[in-house]
Symmetry: C2
Subunit: 194 residues, 2 copies
Amino acid sequence: MPAGERRESILEAATAVFGERGYVGTTTDAVAKAAGVSQPYVVRMFGTKEQLFLEVLQRALDRLLATFRGVIAEHGPGGKEALGALIGNAYADLLRDRGLLLSLMQAFMLGADPVIGPAARAGLLEVYAVLRDEAGFTSDEADAFLSHGMMLNTLVAIGMAGSYETDPSARELIDACAPSKAPLIVRLAKQHRA
Amino acid sequence: MPAGERRESILEAATAVFGERGYVGTTTDAVAKAAGVSQPYVVRMFGTKEQLFLEVLQRALDRLLATFRGVIAEHGPGGKEALGALIGNAYADLLRDRGLLLSLMQAFMLGADPVIGPAARAGLLEVYAVLRDEAGFTSDEADAFLSHGMMLNTLVAIGMAGSYETDPSARELIDACAPSKAPLIVRLAKQHRA
DNA sequence: GTCTATAGGGCGATAGAC
DNA sequence: GTCTATCGCCCTATAGAC
């Protein structure tokens, strides 16, 4: 396999594993097994585990921002209030890219790390900048969007959707905090278990 | 030192370390050093690192819920809309208890863990139940409260407040997403650096 | 109640063959 | 481009003295 493709397939596998186990909890061996290569090969290709995570983070940010910009561009000069809902749906759709939003969230939790911390802060600031400057969100709109995004990330990370159908209180929480996304995250939780 | 006091001082130290480094990233030795005891003593007292984290999580939840209930009880039969702001302020005040809210957030990120995951989900559900059943929040109010709580946790975890005065875009983000809490988290970030 | 010493296991990274 | 073998470190947990 050419190096470019192999790189991408390892990054994809790493995104899923980092998203589920976190940075420290992920072993390069687990990433290697998920990608179907040997552990030393992963290290050889990315240098260090830290560098691998930084590339996963950058790739996740690139895709998130590209998705937002795609929605903004396609939206055209129509009504402004519809854009918020469109970007919100596009954001939730990114949950299909397994581990992508969770890897971002894991990076956000690593602010104390001298290398990952600065990259994570820069990434979050870039997201906010795109919402304000390119999507035209007010600061209140950006606040609501980011806050609910963090809530959604947390609900997925904690695995609450896995109890949606068996635990009425889990259902109530999800319906309250992520109403329109409930069907999606419940479906993804089932797929994940299978 | 009597066992009870020693226990509490280790739990306090562990809360700070777990909050900053996460569950997997925390060594029992780091907790021991922060508490001024030897590493084997920490393990001896709590059995395992996992058990220690579970106790940190439970202690954090207990304090969070006790704080909420205190505000609800003191508030009396007065205006209902004021209670939301009071609980919000009480929540932000818990940031002074170093690592407490961050340890909770770290637990929320461990949903995939077979032992910690269930405890974290039960904890979040209990918080939601208190907001709905004891504070009398509507589901929309609970959603807004929890979402902004997650956002605040994320801003603190990522260390954004450390750039508040040097980076105008960090300031803009914090002012947008945690307006009334900005002075507090900036002060805490400074204390933490010193 | 608290320590020192250390066993035991796992992980990131390197060496080097093919 | 990819692997096997392995080094060396770090970390949890145990043993056992004081």
